[in-house]
């Protein structure tokens, strides 16, 4: 989330909110009245429909935010896990959540923040190879497969599992911190775990002396 976000007063105009968004390069603004959160405006609330006459845009620019904001927005506590926030965004089809603690508004969480979390969870931010495998959905399978990788001296950056392609299976996506993924895939396959990834086990590293 963004701590201590920029806020606007309810009587501020649409034009003022637009310029605050442009300056700060963001798309969501909490509306705060005397320290209390009363609404949220998103960039889309501040636009007229494409093709509207120019007068409509001018008229909108001068209106107060109370007329366009979403009043009584859905909020979230600062100590909630990220999946709770994600579910709120999905269930309510909204793009941001003001983060509210006892003392009032402390931050704002947007879709972009969740993308950053997703990127971190899937390991897309670090140099790595992507390996996928399918495991039987039984206790211990994941552990055994990961031991195979660890025994090769390859570090795992992220491991994500989800329901697999067949009932009774789990799909796993690994981000392995190696440029040479083929031996990892080969070892997994040899241990009975169907896996795929880039490259092929071949002649890399055969001594040539």
């Amino acid at each position: 989330m963004t701590r201590a976000p920029v806020t606007v007063a309810p009587e501020a105009t649409v034009a003022a909110a637009r310029s605050a968004m442009r300056r700060g390069r963001f798309r969501h603004l909490p509306v705060v009245d005397g320290g209390e959160l009363v609404g949220v405006v998103a960039a889309g609330d501040l636009l007229v429909a494409p093709g509207s006459p120019p007068e409509a845009a001018e008229a909108l620019a001068g209106r107060p935010l109370t007329e366009v904001m979403s009043a009584q927005p859905v909020t979230v506590w600062p100590d909630e896990p990220v999946e709770v926030a994600a579910r709120l965004l999905v269930d309510h089809a909204i793009g941001c959540l003001p983060v509210v603690a006892d003392e009032g508004l402390v931050g704002i969480l947007t879709e972009s923040d969740l993308f950053a979390v997703l990127l971190r969870l899937l390991g897309g931010g670090e140099p790595s190879s992507r390996i996928t495998l399918v495991l039987p959905d039984v206790p211990g399978a994941l552990g055994r497969a990961m031991t195979v990788v660890g025994d090769l001296g390859v570090n795992l950056l992220t491991v994500v599992t989800e329901p697999g392609p067949e009932p009774g299976t789990r799909g796993v996506v690994l981000r392995a911190g190696t440029i040479d993924a083929a031996p990892v895939v080969a070892a997994l396959v040899a241990a009975g775990f169907p896996a795929s990834g880039p490259g092929r086990p071949g002649t890399a590293g055969r001594p040539d002396r």
Binding site: A42, R130, G153, G177, I179, D180, P198, A204, D208
Partner: protein, 609 residues
């Protein structure tokens, strides 16, 4: 020419060795050098002198505490004693420390530094540094067998010492992430990486939209290609982007990373290239160096892990191309006999190019075509795309009906000018071009050819302003939008593909006057004209303006000619706030066509607020 080439490698580099069983080991160097010697294409006089890179150079790219860690963990046993600390600097797994690695890494960087110094100073035309091109190393981390980023170090040193613009072309199967990161905001260093897509392959980056950061936006270019692309697809992508990019960027020095791990036999990737493909790429780079960089070229060896059959041959082919030394007809039998694994026929290259994919081929080709189109649109100014076309343009749907060529007069602050429209190619080839017109190509002669080629396009229209002596100081080019772009399929729509005023003639109202003149003829009232300006294509160096001020200037010029600035979510325009999109809808354009155009401006898939 051969006397002016050099090889920046000797047996000392065998110290860069992660040990037996590791893909990056001393055997690479020995296999490669032994083949060059056996083929009698290497003399001792070819070897460039070099020493370990100095701290001052390495610190241009790496943090001091990382360099200290490299030294500390070079001592046997040090990493085992502090494994977590070593891992923090990436010194584990792929990059397991070995005794003396600090000095070995400094030698690799020293070779590349010496290579760039020699070429930049004009002492050598071309230098090949085979054990170099460690393109993954980060500021404070070893990555993917790369302990120091020798290429970034050498380029950083060179661009600091000389006023040079460097074009870095990375052909390794893996994205050149470390070099890209080192110059991500630097407009003097243009990095272009062709690699297997990072969807699965290490390091996972190198997407089309990694374009750089201001003021270097547009100077990081990435071509992520599909697994099983094959030679033809790879070469097509290279041709569609690298040569025109060089024409647009006007480099002074070419640095290449010629990793051969894209080869079909290489265990680390799936690009399915052949040695024939690698040889063809080397030829193209050589030609590019002479066409655009006055011959200044440093090639580095990069990755490649089939040590018996591929790497030595790939190095020999590259060295032969670069040095002009002819390889014998066959790979020397004595060299082949040393290890049976080296044989793959006695030829240097395969009999034919690799086609790449089997049954999935149409899909691979289509995806690569899409990637190439997107990259061209993002990285190449419109006029350069015209001169280096991907394919012939559409069926002339926006063809202009004829009108008599006109001439006008303009009293500009710099002197009287003649305005002309409907310029045929033959006329343009006879006019001179002011050397102050140079946004896109280095020599004014080439710029004249750009204009002539636009005039030869099916719907191409060129209007110029020239002095009474016949020197072109400004031009406006109108043409059909490039196929596959958002507005291309609309009937009766053309694009103002380029507008430029010579640097000595700017700020005198020439652009506005010429544009007004160019769109005055009556047939334009039946057409929609669009124009877009991507901030990083603009001639900011020359104009001394910031992107936003430049946008204002450009917008005023277009508005004076009846264009209107419009909002669009066309991704390349929307990508940057300083980009500009304008259109002029002719008075007789029927309402239905007008609506079809405006409905295409915003496709709108904005998430709910």
């Amino acid at each position: 020419m051969s006397g002016s080439c050099a090889l920046a490698a000797d047996d000392r580099l065998a110290a860069y060795d992660f040990g037996p069983g590791h893909p990056f080991q001393a055997g690479r160097l020995q296999a490669g050098l032994s083949l060059l010697r056996a083929a009698k294409v290497l003399d001792d006089g070819d070897l460039l002198a070099f020493g370990p890179a100095a701290d001052a150079d390495l610190e241009l790219v790496h943090d001091r505490d990382y360099l200290a860690a490299l030294a500390r963990f070079s001592v046997p046993g040090a990493a085992a004693a502090a494994p977590v600390e070593a891992a923090r600097f990436g010194l584990t797994g792929d990059n397991r420390p070995f005794p003396g690695m600090d000095r070995a890494a400094r030698l690799v960087a020293g070779a590349t530094v010496a290579a760039l110094d020699a070429v930049a100073a004009g002492e050598r035309h071309h230098v090949f540094a085979p054990v170099a091109g460690l393109h993954h190393a980060q500021r404070r981390r070893a990555v993917g067998f790369c302990l120091v980023n020798d290429v970034a170090v050498a380029i950083a040193r060179c661009t600091r010492a000389w006023p040079l613009r460097v074009l870095y072309v990375d052909l390794d199967a893996h994205h050149g992430d470390g070099v890209q990161a080192a110059f991500y905001d630097d407009p003097r260093v243009c990095t272009v990486s062709l690699h297997e897509t990072g969807r699965y392959l290490f390091p996972g980056t190198g997407e089309v939209h990694e374009l750089g950061r201001p003021p270097g936006t547009g100077r990081s270019v990435n071509l992520p290609l599909e697994p099983r692309t094959g030679d033809d697809g790879f070469l097509a992508a290279f041709d569609a982007v690298v040569e025109p990019l060089a024409a647009a960027f006007r480099p002074d020095l070419l640095v290449t990373q010629n990793g051969c791990d894209g080869h079909a036999d290489d265990p680390l990737s799936d690009l399915a290239l052949s040695l024939r493909g690698h040889r063809d790429l080397a030829r193209r780079l050589h030609r590019l160096a002479h066409r655009h960089c006055r011959g200044r070229w440093v090639a580095t060896g990069g990755g490649g892990y089939d040590l018996d059959r591929v790497v030595p041959r790939a190095w020999a082919l590259l060295w032969s191309e670069l040095s002009g030394r002819r390889l014998p007809a066959r790979v020397p039998a004595a060299w082949l006999a040393t290890r049976p694994e080296r044989a793959r026929g006695a030829g240097w290259v395969e009999r034919r190019r690799r086609g790449g994919a089997g049954p999935e081929r149409p899909e691979v080709e289509e995806r690569n075509r899409r990637t190439v189109r997107a990259v061209r649109r993002l990285a190449l100014p419109p006029s350069v795309r015209v001169v280096y076309p991907l394919a012939t343009r559409g069926g002339g749907s926006g063809r202009l009906p004829g009108w008599e060529p006109r001439a006008g007069r303009l009293k500009a602050p710099g002197g009287p000018l003649v305005l002309r429209d409907r310029c045929p190619a033959s006329l343009l080839r006879r006019l001179e071009v002011d050397p102050g017109i140079h946004a896109f190509v280095r020599a004014a002669v080439q710029e004249r050819e750009v204009l002539a080629r636009i005039a030869e396009e099916p719907a191409g229209e060129v209007a110029v302003a020239h002095t009474p002596e016949g020197v072109v100081v400004a031009y406006v080019a109108v043409l059909e939008p490039e196929p596959g772009t958002r507005f291309a399929s609309l009937p009766g729509l053309l694009e103002v593909g380029a507008i430029e005023v010579a640097s000595g003639w700017r700020r005198g109202g020439v652009a506005a006057a010429l544009l007004r003149f160019a769109v005055e003829p009556d047939p334009f009232e039946d057409l929609i004209l669009i124009a877009s300006g991507l901030a990083w294509h603009w001639d900011l160096d020359q104009s001394g303006l910031r992107a936003t001020s430049y946008r204002r200037v450009l917008r005023r010029v277009f508005e004076a000619a009846g264009f209107e600035s419009l909002h669009t979510d066309e991704p390349e325009i929307a990508y940057h706030p300083a980009n500009l999109f304008v259109a002029r809808v002719g008075a007789r354009v029927p309402p239905a066509r007008r609506t079809a155009f405006t409905s295409r401006l915003v496709r709108g898939h904005h998430p709910m607020p």
